[in-house]
């Protein structure tokens, strides 16, 4: 069974046509990989489907806009995967 990171990295590679080997756990989806907000919707859709969750993009965006969180907290892939794992665990609880 592939890890959350592998699944997410494959989704990003396929959705945004980014070479898979450039996608690292420490990559920032926006700053390092150059993914814009529209492309991130495609990624979110694929992640939602793959994991059976609903990434709280609106809440994250609001928190970043309000200065309560940094983009690194949500868009560095390691952190994104941790959020996904948390949502999956919450779903199964």
């Amino acid at each position: 069974m592939s890890s959350t990171f592998d699944t997410v990295a494959n989704i990003i590679a396929e959705t945004c046509d980014i070479p898979r080997d450039k996608i690292k756990p420490e990559s920032h989806a926006i700053n390092d990989l150059g993914i814009d907000s529209l492309d991130f919707l495609d990624i979110a859709f694929a992640i939602d489907k793959a994991f059976g969750i609903k990434l709280p993009l609106e809440q994250w965006t609001q928190e970043v806009n309000d200065g309560k969180a940094t983009t690194e907290q949500y868009f560095v892939l390691d952190n994104l995967c941790a959020s996904i794992d948390g949502l999956v665990a919450a779903k199964g609880a």
Partner: protein, 157 residues
């Protein structure tokens, strides 16, 4: 169809908030300046307007699902297929279903039928957000009333 106002839907035929589907109708006008240019001697409903009609149909579905609290904005169109010509005066039967209700976005699949035959289809992504101005929502409510959108069902849905 009020092409001059970019309001392409004439009537909501059915809104199913449980099944997350919608059906609508729209009559292509017999005359419009659009047909003078598109095309001389061969008037056709522009494909982009067929896509817009599917977007507006999908949009009403999303407005219904959100209880008229949020507004969908067109963000992406995929797999658009325009299968045959649509001429002035033809009646369009539009349908859309919600594929995914994301956080701040939604994805629908929509199609246009004429005389029981599918003439266009596509998959559409919308950004979904609060109405940016109360006048906007008021205006949409007025359009909803005109096209028979069941505002109450949507609010209770």
């Amino acid at each position: 169809m009020r092409l001059e106002y970019f309001q392409l839907i004439d009537r909501i035929v059915e809104l199913d908030l449980v099944g997350r589907t919608i059906k609508a109708q729209a009559q292509v006008p017999d005359t419009s300046t659009i047909f003078e240019g598109h095309f001389p001697g061969h008037p056709l409903m522009p494909g982009v307007l067929l896509i817009e009609s599917m977007a507006q149909t999908s949009g009403w579905l999303i407005i219904g699902i959100t209880g008229f609290a949020r507004m969908p904005f067109l963000a992406a169109v995929r797999e658009a297929k325009l299968r045959t010509f649509v001429a002035p005066g033809q009646m369009l039967s539009l349908r859309a279903s919600l594929l995914h209700d994301g956080s701040g976005y939604a994805i629908t699949k929509a199609a246009v039928d004429v005389d029981g035959k599918t003439v266009a289809e596509c998959e559409i992504t919308f950004r979904v957000m609060a109405f940016p101005d109360p006048r906007f929502r008021t205006s949409m409510s007025e359009v909803a009333q005109r096209i028979g959108f069941p505002v109450e069902a949507s609010a209770n849905g």
